[in-house]
């Protein structure tokens, strides 16, 4: 791709980008959010047809000009893209999804035998372990992703673009994906691997290109780089510490959960939280680690009053037993929750930043009859500014913000309540390195002010780097709480997979 420039109204997304990709290699593309990775790939895969960008794409010696129905052209040429958000139909089977729109026909009717035998063949050829007639919706995320890849491969893709493929995968599924990519490399299928996850880039890629602010910073073989050099290229500054310094001032116990048993709200006889007990102190950051499905989000949502049926157990705030029946009650007791999925649970995307920040805080600037808009604007601006939300105006719609800024909006809205206990569920998922650091600083500031913080994270290093103590959950049970001094990645992983229990020494 040479001298590719793409502009959107008001923003230059790609500025004279040139890069070369060798056939059969796995080429990583790295960069912060907004660096232009997705835009570049969209041009290559035909989402932005010829004419909407300037510059050239040369593929196998030929200049590519995708016009109407560009995505289809790209696929026919052998360029397929697998998106972070899967484009599968959950109510159809694996085979049906793979051949959607191209079902083999016999005398005007779909030839199911051929469809399924071709599916089986395809899956075997690439070592994909998926039942070909299962409904896609019943498969775990990891397998769904593999179906997407199979779909691309069934189109005889010679260039496969993977956009953040592992954000929804478990550790085991990521390894499976890596194996499959190695098989593809052996078959001379070129892969473009867009990712934030540096460990994966180093594991699987041959070459890496770093984009920043729409420009190519550098392209290097992976062997010539390490974590630090890569991060420096991405961010442009030396990230000596990934995590800001903390000065913990831990006070008294403020939240006590005892023997909490929570039932699943819909599925009968399914217990989601099994006798969990823990306490949380003022000024402390309690990290909660665990694999996907271990019940961490469910635990905190129950404490917040918005999940499941609490069968037994007690929650004490400031030594007083409370029944938290809804988010409103939780808020009254000083608990705030920044939810896991910021788009679905944390924000109203069509509304402005101002309206989003104001929503749980309406009491602060309105009485029954009046909404003091000036006061609202003033207070919300304060918080947005103190959290460095980057936006030209508070009236901009939140869906125009980057992931990091969106997350800051969610945090602002909860901070305004001046919570006693702040729960953050995977707050840095899908956010670029720079914004992550800013959020870490915010968390540290809050804990220094005495706010008790629960931090759920799926990133081992984050949990280790930010917490005072780490609670590890496995399948709804509390496997133990480790102080950060004693914690190691290995110990936490063992607890998270249920191999070991851990009992902290009584103080």
């Amino acid at each position: 791709m040479e001298h590719v420039t793409k502009e959107f109204p008001g923003v230059v997304a790609l500025d004279d980008v040139s890069l070369q990709i060798r056939s059969g290699e796995i080429h990583g593309i790295c960069g912060e959010n907004g660096a232009g990775k997705s835009t570049l790939m969209k041009i290559l895969s035909g989402v932005y047809p010829f004419g909407e960008y300037s510059g050239e794409i040369r593929y196998k010696g030929e200049v590519l000009k995708f016009e109407q129905g560009a995505i289809q052209h790209a696929i026919e040429k052998g360029i397929s893209i697998v998106y972070q958000e899967l484009a599968l139909i959950p109510t159809l089977t694996v085979g049906e999804n793979i051949y959607l729109g191209r079902e083999p026909m016999k005398r005007g009717v779909i030839d199911w035998d051929t469809l399924y035998s071709k599916t089986k063949q395809l899956l075997e050829e690439f070592g994909l372990d998926i039942p070909y007639s299962a409904l896609v919706g019943s498969l775990p995320m990891g397998k769904q992703q593999l179906v997407e890849i199979a779909k691309a491969l069934s189109n005889n893709a010679s260039v496969l673009i993977l956009d953040e493929p592992t954000s929804a995968l478990s550790v085991h599924e990521v390894e499976t994906l890596m194996d499959i990519l190695r098989i593809l490399r052996k078959k001379h299928i070129t892969c473009l691997y867009i990712s934030h996850k540096l460990e994966e880039i180093f594991t699987i890629c041959d070459t890496v290109t770093v984009l920043r602010d729409g420009r190519v910073i550098d392209t290097q073989p992976i062997t010539s780089m390490n974590n630090d050099t890569l991060i420096r290229l991405m961010v442009g500054r030396d990230m000596k510490e990934r995590f800001p310094e903390r000065h913990s001032k831990i006070g008294d116990s403020i939240l006590e959960v005892e023997e909490l048993w929570v039932d699943h709200p819909e599925i009968q006889n399914k217990v989601v939280t099994k006798g969990v007990s823990f306490n949380l102190k003022q000024g402390e950051v309690l990290g909660i680690a665990g694999l996907m499905g271990s019940g961490r989000s469910e635990l905190v949502m129950s404490i917040f009053g918005e999940y499941g049926n609490i069968r037994s157990g007690s929650i004490k705030i400031d030594s007083k037993v409370v029944t938290v029946g809804s988010s409103r009650v939780a808020m009254k007791h000083g608990i705030s929750l920044v939810p896991e999925d910021r788009k679905k649970q944390g924000l109203i995307l069509d509304q402005s930043i101002l309206e989003n920040i104001a929503l749980p805080n309406m009491e602060m600037f309105s009485s029954f009859l009046r909404l003091d808009k000036m006061k609202e604007l003033r207070l919300c601006s304060e918080y947005a500014k103190s959290l460095t939300v980057k936006t030209p105006s508070l009236h901009a719609k939140v869906n125009s913000l980057s992931g990091g800024n969106q997350q800051k909006v969610v945090i602002s809205k909860w901070l305004m309540k001046k919570p006693v206990v702040l729960i953050l569920d995977d707050p840095t998922r899908g956010i670029d390195v720079g914004a992550k650091f800013e959020i870490y600083k915010i968390i540290n500031n809050l804990s220094e002010q005495g706010v008790a913080i629960i931090l759920i994270s799926s990133e081992m290093e984050e949990v280790l780097g930010m917490s005072d103590r780490i609670l590890v959950m496995c399948e709804g049970r509390n496997m133990g709480t480790v102080s950060s001094k004693d914690a190691t990645q290995e110990l936490i992983m063992r607890m998270a997979t249920g191999i070991t229990d851990y009992t902290e020494k009584e103080e």
Partner: protein
């Protein structure tokens, strides 16, 4: 959709050799549109919560016959006995007052029932209000026994058929213009006080001047005939109140939030159940107003009153830019939509077209108007 409205007006003006624009016709047009206007105001909030209310026509008709029934059969005697010293006219006013209050209470009660069933019992709005439609249409037949209920006392009729005297209409125009300029000035000074950026002074005041000119134009056209029709005045006041509620109260904010993203709203502390209940109760109240005006307008309680009004209300909202999936829409838009619908019907009767054409054309206009909206959105975004 303002463009659509203007185009439709020009079209009918041309087709009718300008009779469409005669002040008497314009006066009738706005009077007719007011009945749907009340429903549209309430329907905006219902649609914003991604709900729907199919019963509003039936509620309108039901309240209409209840108020008629009270006046014609029940109240005359007792009032005369209770206040023997007062004149007949005074009796009529008291009767009207009681009928109005009763009608509002009935409509609100029905709305509250719907709100309860939808919010607290969890029955889908489509079903609850569809059932409501059947129930209350049946109720209408029950109360009227298949006959039209007459007579309606004069003061009650005045609500729908009366006009504001010309001088009073001008007074109102002046007050309105004064308000417009005051609000512009006040808004600017408050913004300055808090250090917020101001639009250019020209833009603000030109806008005020344009709106003021429209007000003057409107009042002069209305006054050319007999003055501002009273139901239009009631509609303007009601719409202003509902508009204020939707933009400047907690309730309004919660309604738009819960329509925009129900789960996020819930997790942000919005009481979904209570606010949903209130929306449908409000809809019931506004349907009652519509029913009262209807009775006064046709001077009777009829068995067919309000039929299909819900579809007109929904169409007005959609033409006016309300999204059926919830979260967005404005009162002003809905009223413009209602005006579009009323203009089409009015234009066709001025042209002496057969009545069956009206529904056909209304349906086509609805599809076209929304298409225009979708097309401009696609171009801009």
């Amino acid at each position: 959709m303002i463009i659509a409205l203007v185009l439709i007006w020009i079209l009918f003006g041309a087709l009718t050799d300008g009779i469409f624009f005669a002040s008497r016709n314009m006066s009738n047009l706005f009077r007719q549109m007011s009945i749907i206007g009340f429903l549209a105001c309430g329907m905006v909030l219902v649609l914003v919560t991604a709900g729907i209310d199919l019963s509003v026509g039936a509620i309108t008709g039901f309240v209409s016959v209840i108020t008629a029934y009270l006046q014609a059969y029940i109240l005359a005697g007792p009032i005369a006995n209770l206040f023997p010293s007062l004149s007949l006219q005074a009796h009529a006013v008291i009767i009207s007052g009681i009928a109005v209050v009763a009608g509002l209470m009935v409509g609100t009660a029905i709305g509250m029932w719907h709100g309860f069933a939808i919010a607290y019992l969890g029955i889908p709005a489509f079903i609850v209000t569809l059932g409501g439609q059947l129930i209350f249409r049946g109720g209408i037949l029950g109360i009227t026994r298949g006959k039209t209920i007459v007579p309606i006392v004069e003061p009650f009729k005045a609500i729908a058929q009366g006009y504001l005297p010309r001088t009073l209409s001008w007074v109102i125009a002046v007050i309105l213009i004064g308000l417009i300029f005051f609000m512009t000035y006040h808004g600017r000074s408050r913004k300055k006080q808090f250090g917020f950026p101001l639009d250019s002074i020209w833009k603000d005041y030109v806008k005020s001047v344009v709106i003021s000119l429209l007000v003057i134009l409107y009042v002069s056209v209305m006054n050319d005939y007999r003055g501002i029709p009273i139901p239009v005045l009631v509609l303007i006041v009601t719409a202003a109140i509902i508009h204020y509620i939707s933009r400047n109260t907690k309730f309004g904010r919660y309604v738009y939030a819960l329509g925009g993203n129900r789960e996020a709203a819930k997790l942000s502390g919005v009481n979904i159940l209570r606010n949903t209940f209130k929306v449908y109760a409000l809809m019931g109240f506004l349907s009652a107003i519509s029913g009262i005006v209807l009775t006064g307008y046709v001077a009777a309680g009829t068995i067919g009153g309000g039929t299909n009004y819900e579809l007109d209300a929904i169409a007005s909202c959609v033409i006016g830019g309300v999204s059926l999936s919830g979260g967005s829409g404005s009162i002003v838009g809905a009223l413009i939509g209602a005006t579009v619908m009323a203009s089409v019907v009015n234009g066709m009767s001025v042209m002496n077209m057969d009545v069956f054409w009206q529904n056909i054309i209304k349906g086509i206009i609805l599809i076209l108007a929304v298409y225009m909206d979708v097309a401009t959105k696609k171009r801009n975004g």
